[in-house]
């Protein structure tokens, strides 16, 4: 039987290569080896996904490869999640409502953030794409969401993020708001009064943790 580090490396490679069957197989094997689910995520899945992100940044990977990596990651998470849920060490890191804004049907970046947040212990409600502001508000209220994540991939739909911030404040929700998407910058986030912004999915998890930290302090 392969060792822990070999299994983690193989799992990372399966994610990197968008190998869905491989990602499932290696995650199952990892669990059989009694590797803690959080370790499988941190040492197998996330490094693979991060590598895919690096190759994307470098112009070596394109959307299909990135989407393939996300799918392999999702498939592995399906294997791990039942065990993760029973992992005694796991405490829900926070409740998140996520979606792509109204008028925008870009799915991949948003889904990647949703998967990574789930992998990091957040309870995530993914509303999909083309989500009206009202729907974000309704769902956030239902779940008493700690964070609302809104993605916009078009310069023409970014303004929806501003609408969302205004509506959340007006509704008096306590939810923090994170914004992301290719054209979304830290300046834009500041400009519209969002609480957080991240340039990629891995960074989004760190920002979400940071926002939760602020919650605990208050």
């Amino acid at each position: 039987m392969p060792k822990t580090c070999e299994t983690m490396a193989a799992l990372g490679r399966a994610v990197l290569e968008g190998d869905v069957a491989g990602a499932e197989r290696w995650s199952q094997l990892a669990l059989q080896l009694m590797i803690a689910p959080s370790q499988v995520i941190d040492n197998g899945l996330i490094p693979g996904l991060r590598h895919a992100g690096d190759l994307w940044e470098a112009g070596e990977y394109f959307l299909p490869e990135l989407a393939g990596a996300a799918q392999a990651m999702k498939a592995a998470m399906k294997v791990i999640e039942p065990v993760l849920a029973s992992d005694a060490q796991r405490i829900a890191a926070g409740r998140v409502v996520i979606g792509t804004v109204w008028g925008d049907i870009h799915d991949i970046g948003k889904s990647l953030v949703a998967v990574l947040l789930t992998a990091n212990g957040f309870v995530v409600k993914d509303e999909g794409v083309n989500v009206p502001v009202d729907q974000f508000i309704t769902r956030a209220r239902e779940l008493d969401a700690d964070i609302i994540c809104a993605s916009a991939l078009l310069t023409t739909t970014m303004a929806q993020q501003r609408e969302l911030v205004l509506a959340v404040r007006q509704a008096g929700l306590r939810s923090k708001i994170m914004v992301g998407g290719a054209p979304v910058t830290a300046d834009w986030a500041r400009e519209i009064g969002a609480d957080g912004q991240a340039d990629n999915a891995v960074a989004a998890v760190a920002v979400a943790h940071k926002l939760m930290g602020h919650h605990h302090e208050t």
Binding site: G59, I105, I108, T157, P183, T185
Partner: protein
């Protein structure tokens, strides 16, 4: 319009001037963010019409009707798939009456937003059906030519061209490429020259690049490929890169330097020239003064 008639227009010893942006012009007139622009063909035809009329007056020889998002998949995302006949027919009618015979009207065909696996679940057949429905309506509504634009997946572009060619109208085809370390690629990883060659091979009368990059970058693209592309090359760069400001999205380019880059592209061999996001009739005018129409030319 017959294919030979259109190729004859391109044979003139000067560039053929297209129009500039439509979407960002409509946004400037109050189109809300996220609102499907084709809806304005029904709700605000006079605003759409004024943009076309402005381009015609600025010297465009062809305007793109407001039908970019008029395919069933995009319309369904806005919950208005049932309006497909109406928005496309109105788009052509508005443009035709706005330009009053001054220039040609292209039925504009943009991407469906559906993605092939692993990014999505679309199939070639599905996309062919979606495009065929729109191209048939555009042709029946009186479009002079069909223009497939801003395609980021070569397979989708070819599906659109296939559907468009069944109408017997001349077909222009343009994809959108970005600068990567190893060259120019679409976001799906289709590289510049092989893509253009496939578009030409599939029967497009002119092929090219639009959107994504600024005019100075597009000069480099043209220089890299123009000698190897067997059909006329069309270029429609953005007017600078979008910047988000407190008042909205701003495109930074100045019309004069944009038109100077367009002149460099024509010197390199580009034949059809225009602008994409952020460009305005002022940009087309700046191009036009560099290439005055000859007497008797259409």
């Amino acid at each position: 319009m017959k294919l030979e008639q259109f190729t004859a227009l391109l044979d003139h010893n000067r560039p053929f001037v297209l129009d500039g942006a439509l979407g960002t012009m409509l946004i400037a007139q109050g189109l809300p963010s996220g609102y499907e622009p084709v809806r304005w063909n029904i709700e605000h035809p006079e605003r759409v019409s004024s943009v076309h009329a402005n381009y015609a007056a600025s010297g465009s020889e062809l305007v793109h009707a407001n039908t970019f998002g008029g395919n069933r998949a995009r319309l369904a995302a806005s919950g208005i798939a049932h309006l497909i006949g109406q928005v496309n027919a109105a788009g052509i009618a508005i443009a035709t009456s706005a330009v009053g015979g001054l220039c040609l009207v292209a039925g504009d065909i943009g991407p469906t937003g559906l993605l092939f696996p692993p990014a999505g679940t679309a199939t070639i057949e599905e996309l062919q059906d979606v495009f065929q429905e729109q191209t048939e309506i555009l042709a029946a509504s009186g479009a002079d030519v069909l223009s497939v634009e801003t395609m980021y997946d070569l397979r989708e572009a070819l599906a659109a061209i296939d559907a468009a060619r069944k109408t017997d109208l001349p077909v222009l085809a343009s994809m959108t490429f970005d600068v990567k370390r190893r060259g120019f690629f679409t976001m799906m990883g289709d590289s510049l020259l092989p893509s253009l060659l496939r578009l030409a091979d599939s029967g497009a009368v002119a092929v090219g690049m639009n959107c994504s990059v600024t005019s100075d970058v597009m000069v480099r693209m043209v220089e890299e490929v123009v000698r190897q592309v067997p059909v006329p090359l069309a270029v429609q760069p953005n007017a600078g890169q979008p910047r988000v400001t407190a008042t909205g999205i701003v495109y930074g380019a100045v019309a004069d330097s944009f038109a100077e880059d367009i002149r460099r592209m024509t010197e390199a061999g580009a034949r059809l020239v225009g602008g994409c996001c952020g460009s305005t009739p002022e940009f087309i005018q700046a191009i036009r003064v560099r290439f005055p129409k000859k007497d008797g030319a259409p």
